[in-house]
Symmetry: none
Subunit: 232 residues, 2 copies
């Protein structure tokens, strides 16, 4: 899979388009709004001012040869539906569209859209799960009670080394590897420290936490709670 | 933490409010729009028609006693800013607000909002990472182009050892640790394999991938793409 058309370069469309481009895909962004098209130049492969509800335009842009299309038009439901029908007619193999509400979503499915996204609803659910964990920027569960968290370094841990705060040895990983892993009893695994634009993967014990650090930590839920709460 | 006020019951606000309620929190939802207030009755603890930019109203509703507040008003930036200032003045300990754009977000931070959410941008990035791959269950970005992905093991990799598929040595982590980390050039880091209810952390090179495995992989975006695409 190599190329994607993104129709509608609002916040949702722009964010998909830029991320896809950074992932190495060829991205053609289409929007009727000239300013928005200008803003995207250089951030994606091609940024074109055009009306995606015009079949000739889509065909001339080579829509038929793209691997996927994302219809990121939100509030203009008519444009969203029309572009989706055209993409389906033209034969783009994978069409994803965002929907304003369930009726819009159901309609999109009926006209051949393969996957429907509800951006606001999805971020709302996500936020609800991390609401009271303010230092926890993100959480990925691995098992029922073990997960990887992205945590802002708690103020009072700044200046401490990993050894001080009881994070496991960098060797932790290797030791685990040699034993074939499966240990969630060893405490906090400091997987990485994101600092500025860079990242320290498996930092060693002498590493000192600095202001602004973002910690990528693997730990059992209870250990994580202790770590964060001892952290606050 | 037990109770949350959600101001603005659009799609984002409604989704946070309902999810929080389902998670066991007490949720007070406030909106000026009567229909929206009606729709939420029964789905959250209290649903009230009120203007959140009115300080007396917020005080009468007991805002002071809530553990957190989410300002989910989006396009009405003035309402968003005013409610946020009031919540801060009233003393709600944790205030989270959604922002329409960076300027809005920066302004919210300046007036005391603790955490800013950009729903559309966040769903856009998330979608980009799983667009072509039903296999990517979840993605956590660490830096601009390096992230951790939770991936269903691709069928044709089953039976291969980590060595076969080019995942880095278990020693990868230690080597990095000794060098002080910052390497994102070494390829795919197989951080863990989730298998059944258990988890292998830093599995060694001889580990054979099995059907049903879920791989926790650290990699630069382009390497991840190659890994997954070679996978399909
Ligand atoms: N027919 C069309 N062809 C191309 N682009 C279109 C068409 N109709 C709308 N757009 C573009 O789609 C973009 C997104 O439109 P929308 O009205 O959904 O904005 P939005 O809801 O603010 O988006 P977001 O929430 O992603 O910021 C706009 O930039 C708009 O110009
Ligand atoms: N001062 C206010 N007090 C209470 N509710 C308000 C106030 N101002 C706006 N709202 C409500 O906030 C809700 C969200 O408003 P907004 O204009 O952001 O809609 P939206 O952008 O479509 O939201 P979403 O994207 O979450 O669906 C609306 O239901 C609106 O009635």
């Amino acid at each position: 899979a190599n190329s994607v058309i993104v129709i509608g370069l609002g916040r949702f469309g722009t964010s998909i388009a830029h991320t896809l481009f950074q992932l190495g895909y060829d991205v053609l962004g289409i929007d009727t709004d000239e300013k928005v098209v200008q803003d995207n130049l250089g951030h994606i492969t091609y940024s074109v001012q055009a009306d995606a509800t015009n079949e000739d335009t889509l065909r001339e842009l080579g829509a038929r040869n793209f691997d996927a299309a994302v219809v990121a038009v939100g509030s203009d439901m008519q444009s969203s539906l029309m572009s989706s029908v055209l993409l389906s007619t033209i034969g783009v193999p994978l069409i994803i569209a965002r929907a304003e509400n369930e009726l819009h979503g159901t309609t999109l499915e009926k006209i051949g859209v393969h996957k429907i996204i509800y951006p606001e609803q999805e971020s709302g659910e996500e936020l609800a799960h991390s609401l009271f964990n303010e230092n926890v920027i993100e959480y990925m569960d691995l098992t029922l009670d073990y997960g990887i968290s992205k945590i802002k370094v708690p103020d009072h841990l700044i200046g401490n080394t990993l050894k001080d705060i009881g994070a496991d040895e960098g060797l932790y990983f290797t030791a685990l590897g040699l034993q074939g892993g499966t240990t969630t009893d060893k405490g906090i695994a400091m997987i990485a420290i994101k600092r500025g634009k860079g990242m320290l993967l498996a930092p060693d014990q002498e590493e000192e936490l600095q202001k602004g650090d973002i910690l990528i930590v693997g730990a059992k839920d209870k250990q994580l709670e202790k770590f964060r709460l001892s952290a606050s």
